[in-house]
Amino acid sequence: MQRLHKRDLQTLFEVLRDEGYAVHGPTVRDGAIVHGPLRSADDLPIGWTDAQGPGQYRLQKDGSSVFDGYVVGPDSPKKQRFPSHETLYVATLRADGKIGFAPNMPSAAEAHVGVRACDLAAMRIQTEVFERGPYVEPRHRSRRERSVVIGVSCTKPGDLCFCASTKTGPRASEGADLVLTEREHDFLVEAITDLGERLVQRLPMNGATEQDAQWLDAAMASAESSMGRELDTEDLPAILFGRLQHPRWAEVADRCLACGSCTSVCPTCFCSTTEDPSSLDAADSSRERLWDSCFTWEHAYIHGGTVRPRVEDRYRQWLTHKVGSWVAQFGTSGCVGCGRCIAWCPVGIDLTEELAALREGEGRAELPERVAPASTVDDDLVPRSCEVIGVTRETHDIVTLDVACSEPFAPGQFSQLSLPGIGEVPISISGARPGIASHTIRAVGATTRALCALSPGTSLGMRGPYGRPWPIDSFVGRPVVVVAGGIGLAPLREAMVRMLARPGDFPHVILLYGTRSPDDAIFTDELDAWERTYSAFEAHHTVDHATPSWKGHIGVVTRLLDEATVPADASAMICGPEIMMRFTVEALGRRGLPDERIWVTLERHMECAVGFCGRCQLGPHFVCKDGPVFSFDQVRMLFGRMGF
């Protein structure tokens, strides 16, 4: 440890600039202390303090020469590594009809000055989100690797601080290269990394004594005991997921405006959305990533509606994620005790108060432990241009596109298909031939309608394949019951193709298929051919609404599940509307199939497909990277539950 005189702080800025860093840190702007560009030490909020309470934040000038008299403002260094608005790529329609995709990658080296322990913890947490895999966001990694972080240990926590409870402060260390602690005339300086040590070598340091170290320990102990808030973090994930019907959720929803302020100021929230602006002639477009909030109606939107229609659902999603399922996903809570969500909530909802209230009640539900990915792979979210080489109209609103594709995939996986300036959607891969991946698409929104209108020879953007496939090898030797609803047959088709090609392994494949009407069925000729060709295969088709000429089954698909169609030793694969799957699982359970032998594939709003955008969560799971195929015992807790 060493000492730096306050008058020499400017030297640190000069050294950082000389090392090639653009310096960012706390500064006063628009009546708040924000994290912005700093030209010199004079831009720091010298002599400013802040008064904070639930729904309250006021800056006050006290006229002192103290650098570190404030707590935290609405900003955090999050926006430097995960900008609130960022171009992911630029797409250009070339003269040859192909689409050119040019990634946008950051190049600047930045210094983050004045980062408190809570925000250092938040930066570590965001690194878990974006870089611990299986997918790695290269923009985040690039910014992190190019940056230097000057941390600050807090000696005067605020009224809303509780980092001592979350064990993320007040002492700054991990994640910083250099840590400063302000005293009356100097800073105590600790070099945490080799880079920090190198910076120290270039500063006019004075040696520190044993008394200085004791002063720091005492200051930290004092800060730890003077936190304005406390939070009991013990067992929070199990408590929250065991109390999903606690009356407190509805009570807080009566006050919550679903404005998303809490998520905007949170230094760990990572949800994002995308937009695809284009030139008027659609020749040039880009994909823009913007911060989003789980409090918006669109956050959990899937065609036709949102899975979280009530404010109660969205508040519960936010809090159960932040301090609950976050642990299962990333091995750490998503709360660092900074108190920003309390100060910037316009109605003053206090997270610590809400969690204390939820603790009063009954019920626990264990979440799975985090399993670290075995390997990692970069994903820059940029599509490759692929040619449509075949189009098959399956029904009045369903089309199969055969897309030139050399990537191998497994049945049950999906691709992200995109059209520049229009959008991107996850589409199941329904079939494969060498060099071709088939995607069966129902026209339900702007992007799917545009995809369904493509003709052979045109191009689209494709990412993937993504997601966990059907585990068909685990079904070997058993009858396999395949239950499909509507276009839900598409992600099951290639799995059946592969099972029927191995009759020795799959002696009996039984398809139970439900559609709205006979005309809404897909792959009908192929299914008829399979029944003629493969003795192992039998198919039963039922419709909810019959046409006058229909002589087959009428009624919902669950009516087809009986002793004749569901052998008790079977494994089952299900894809269709969630409510159909729910009752199918119940019927299969009554036939004696355990949850572990029932596999479902889920649909949630996916923007990125790799776990970065946060939108497709189902409790501890990301449907995109942990699914979309799950065994039912993995998802039973939340499957079909309102608001998840």
């Binding site: 065609h303 509606g305 709205r516 809404d520 006058p548 009428i554 509307p577 409510i579």
Partner: protein, 152 residues
């Protein structure tokens, strides 16, 4: 043709009854083989018999003015058909035979009389009928949800 007790044992409605009870039921039942494209009963007509499908497929349809006849449910092996007869009400749907089918027929009055005389048989049959009606209600609800339609 009369069914045997064994025939009735193969139908879920009677599966839990002992042989003696099934023989008493078989004594008041008949087996009908129905050709394809015939009509078993017609909506609005008085009902007298209750049926259990023993094979094939029978579709229930209703007339809606201004629309083609609308078929909303098909019944197959083991399913109850025509419970209006137990309540003495007219048929609420028309039953079309869409595949060559076999049904077990009970005169409603004879069946009700047997159930009155032997409450154990009556309880078993009414409980099974109740289960089936509960299932039908549930399935009807799912059909009404139109889960494959696109919400706009």
């Amino acid at each position: 043709m009369q069914p045997t007790a064994e025939d009735l044992g193969a139908l879920a409605l009677f599966a839990t009854l002992d042989v003696g009870d099934r023989e008493r039921l078989a004594a008041i039942a008949g087996v009908l083989d129905l050709p394809q494209d015939t009509t078993l009963f017609t909506e609005g007509e008085p009902s007298r018999d209750l049926y259990v499908v023993a094979g094939g497929r029978i579709t229930l349809c209703t007339s809606v003015p201004g629309r083609p006849e609308t078929c909303f449910l098909s019944l197959r092996h083991g399913e109850l058909l025509g419970w209006s007869a137990l309540l003495g009400r007219p048929w609420t749907a028309t039953a079309h035979v869409v595949e060559p089918s076999r049904v077990v027929r009970f005169g409603a009055s004879e069946l009700l009389e047997l159930c009155e005389m032997d409450h154990d048989i009556g309880y078993t049959i009414m409980r099974r009928a109740f289960e089936e009606i509960a299932d039908r209600l549930h399935f009807t609800r799912l059909q009404m949800l139109d889960v494959f339609g696109v919400t706009r």
